[in-house]
Symmetry: C2
Subunit: 476 residues, 2 copies
């Protein structure tokens, strides 16, 4: 029977675009290499119509589908389970640009286009595509949409969903919904676009999207500050909102432990100011006028912040290279953590006002749980999004630390996240990694509504089953 399906899929997408055996390995292993699944096959359609045919063929065979873009997700949501009975539907061949419309400030592009290529295409057209994240060289726009990716410019431009005006989606029964309208206002019924965005391939397969382009800023400026406390960091954020308004495009927090690891493993990066306070904040301003204007605003903001004792010390990058170097330090935290040894990661969000209390209480609880634990706390403070990670005490072996304490640390963190009105997944999604945890922290009413929507749009449970929601598994 599987041979019949493979033959049917081959007839749809052509010889060479149905992979089996060893060729499927890279599609069946997740980005963090924690999960090695096994695919019945990988099918690589070249058009929306082929995607629809593939979905219909799988539905007819009762075989479930795992949609996949760049396979850079962090929650084990885009690889098949170990049953060998799931088809991976790779969108990577679909990377055409359907349209660029400068007067409407939109680009319409297929789901398999790599994010960096979308950025480049938009730049060539004279605009900015303001979605930017670590995996941008590999991840695809379809994956960004399926997981509602965040990144470093959310404080100004929002998450992926906020950049999307329309979608084309293949439904679970293999129909094509053409919702590729490039409209800023459309109140004709339920917002299907927002329902598919962030649903991690469990409700439909996104095949193309109309995305916003924004004007390129005339200048970008980056500053690095040491701050005396999280309360001060919050007050600095409020001041930056007030003085820079929409010119504020980045507001990144890093605690001393995070920067100490960067300094330890990459001393050539010369981390500024990290010993001067418990936290540093990186600020970015994108100005529509000129660098001189941006600099004046920035200097005024930082002077005021120093007067108010919100900032202990600050440097403003003097060149594009310096700005790049400062961002590079911020982006090296993850690597420095890895160099120090395996660790425990959490991608959480909170109301910004509650972050100081959350961090104080959670830090204390974890230090009580495991004296010497090193808490590496950094993230997008402007969005209330922390990467609140934990490294082994210096005298503990890293693998043992993770094996013995990951569950317990996670429970402390998530319990406090829940208590302070936060989210256990700010920007990475649920996938299969957090699906068992979700019901503990999300309201039963919300879980029930989600389950009803899943059943309504995918009654056979064929699309990425067992991701987001705990569903019937195909594992034997």
């Amino acid at each position: 029977m599987h041979a019949d399906l493979i033959a049917a899929l081959t007839a749809i997408v052509g010889e060479g675009h149905v992979l089996t055996g060893h060729a499927t390995a890279e599609y069946a292993t997740d980005w963090r290499q924690r999960l090695q699944g096994q695919a019945l096959c990988v099918v690589r359609p070249g058009s929306t119509d082929e995607v629809a045919q593939v979905v219909r063929a799988c539905a007819a065979a009762g075989v479930s589908i795992v949609p996949q873009g760049g396979n850079t997700g962090l929650v084990e949501g885009s690889v098949p389970d170990g049953s060998g009975r799931q088809v991976v539907l790779s969108l990577r061949r679909m990377h055409a640009v359907r349209a660029i419309d400068p007067d409407n400030l939109t680009i319409t592009v297929e789901a398999g286009c790599v994010l960096q290529n979308v950025q480049a295409l938009v730049q060539e057209a004279g605009f900015l595509f303001p979605l930017s994240l670590g995996a941008e060289g590999s991840c695809t726009l379809g994956g960004n949409l399926a997981t509602n990716a965040g990144g470093t410019q959310v404080v100004r431009y929002g998450n992926t969903r906020d950049l999307c005006l329309g979608l084309e989606v293949v439904t679970a029964d293999g129909q094509v919904w053409d919702g590729l309208l490039g409209l800023r206002k459309d109140n004709t019924g339920y917002d299907l676009r927002h329902l598919f965005i962030g649903s991690e391939g469990t409700l439909g397969v996104i095949t193309a999207a109309s995305m916003r382009m924004v004007p390129q800023p005339a200048a970008q400026l980056t500053a690095w500050t040491a701050v005396p406390s999280l309360d001060a960091a919050n007050a600095l954020l409020a001041l930056a909102h007030q003085h820079l308004a929409s010119a504020l495009t980045g507001f990144e927090l890093m605690n001393q432990q995070a920067l100490a690891l960067v300094d330890l493993h990459y001393p050539h990066l010369r981390v500024p100011l990290w010993q001067q306070g418990p936290f540093c904040v990186l600020l970015e301003a994108s100005d529509s006028e000129s660098e001189a204007h941006a600099r004046t605003l920035f200097e005024r903001l930082l002077e005021l912040a120093m007067e108010k004792e919100l900032v202990l010390d600050a440097v403003i990058a003097e060149s594009v290279q310096q700005a790049h170097d400062l961002w590079h330090i911020r982006e090296s935290i993850t690597l420095a953590q890895a160099a120090e040894g395996v660790n425990v990661k959490h991608d959480i969000s909170l109301p910004i006002s509650r972050i100081p209390a959350f961090v104080a209480e959670t830090d204390a609880a974890l230090h009580a749980l495991l004296p010497g634990i090193r808490l590496v706390n950094f993230g997008h403070l402007g969005d209330g999004n922390l990467h609140y990670n934990a490294q082994a005490p210096e005298d503990m072996e890293a693998r043992a630390f993770v094996a013995d304490h990951e569950e317990c640390i996670g429970e402390v963190v998530y319990r406090n996240v829940h208590r302070f009105g936060g989210s256990i997944s700010a920007e990475h999604g649920i996938g299969s990694l957090k699906r068992e945890k979700l019901p503990h922290y999300k309201s039963p009413v919300a879980m029930q509504l989600m389950q009803r929507i899943k059943s309504a749009l995918d009654p056979q449970n064929l699309l990425n089953p067992g991701r987001v929601l705990v569903g019937p598994r195909t594992d034997p």
Copy 2:
């Protein structure tokens, strides 16, 4: 049996909060006074728990519910049908502020709070709530959310949905979903918030919301320009995006016919520049620095636009009063139209780039259909949203014009909207007014998905039945 239900509802909300007979009339008549329905009763709960009890009581009795806020909608979506068998659920008693959180830039408020009061509360807290529309003195936040209201500042701040971070909703089976998280990032499953927003009370009853507040601008400046064509208006918009960036908070288009009517009926308003070109554009800049800064930017923009021959002439308001007067002219178009006689209205949106061609072709088609027809075209060009209205030829009686030609004019307009990739309802919604038209212009796949969602979340079809989607009616 209805007496039993009324007794049950009275037991829930208390004597005096269940209205019957004459007292229900204002709740049963729509804003434009085109529809006079009849309610079984009006029930006015005072808390979320009471709303949930009311929904459960109605569900048990098999009686459908029409949720209502300020009842200012324009598509006959918030009044009962004529059967006398629907309960109007008025949220107006629920107007408490649950929380204002300056550090998180959020306000959490109940659904029945009048929009103007939300604006005032946020202003008192030192911030701006940037949703603004004609009915703001009467409409409620819950109604704004249920219909995803737009208004005049969408070009900068988005529609109501873009200002909402979380909701509290009573579901069709009378459960309470507490989704009042004030988070900017939350990727824990399907976005229920966006599904309820804009669903016009057909999927759940919104009882409270967490909304964004934004910093107050330091200065606002308004300019009025005459432009030679729609292409020039579009080019001016692009230039304004580039030079003002996020400081651009308003970009309103008005054609000569619209301004001629204002000049005719309200000559004391002294409409500027309207005879100098086929269109005028009102621009608003909200500056985070100072009025002087805003003026410099504005003057530079307008000089450049005049060099490029995008603008024929321009005035910049010299005072807050002058700015107010210019906006008042823009807002008087609807009244001037009414003073001229009943007319045919369309609330449409299009990709901004296609507006010039759409208007040229649709103007021509309507002039061919009915020589002498006066097309009153104005709206939020920055969002691609036109109020493309038609007034009787000067020698035709207005009522006869509407009675004889409304359908046919609508068909021409909507057919072209569809052909140019637009929407037949940009900001007003579908209600019952456009529910029969919707399937002609929306894809069958989208209609089917919407129907499935409705059945999944409201299987008894108790919440605002027959609005948005054509459903079983309760009319005899």
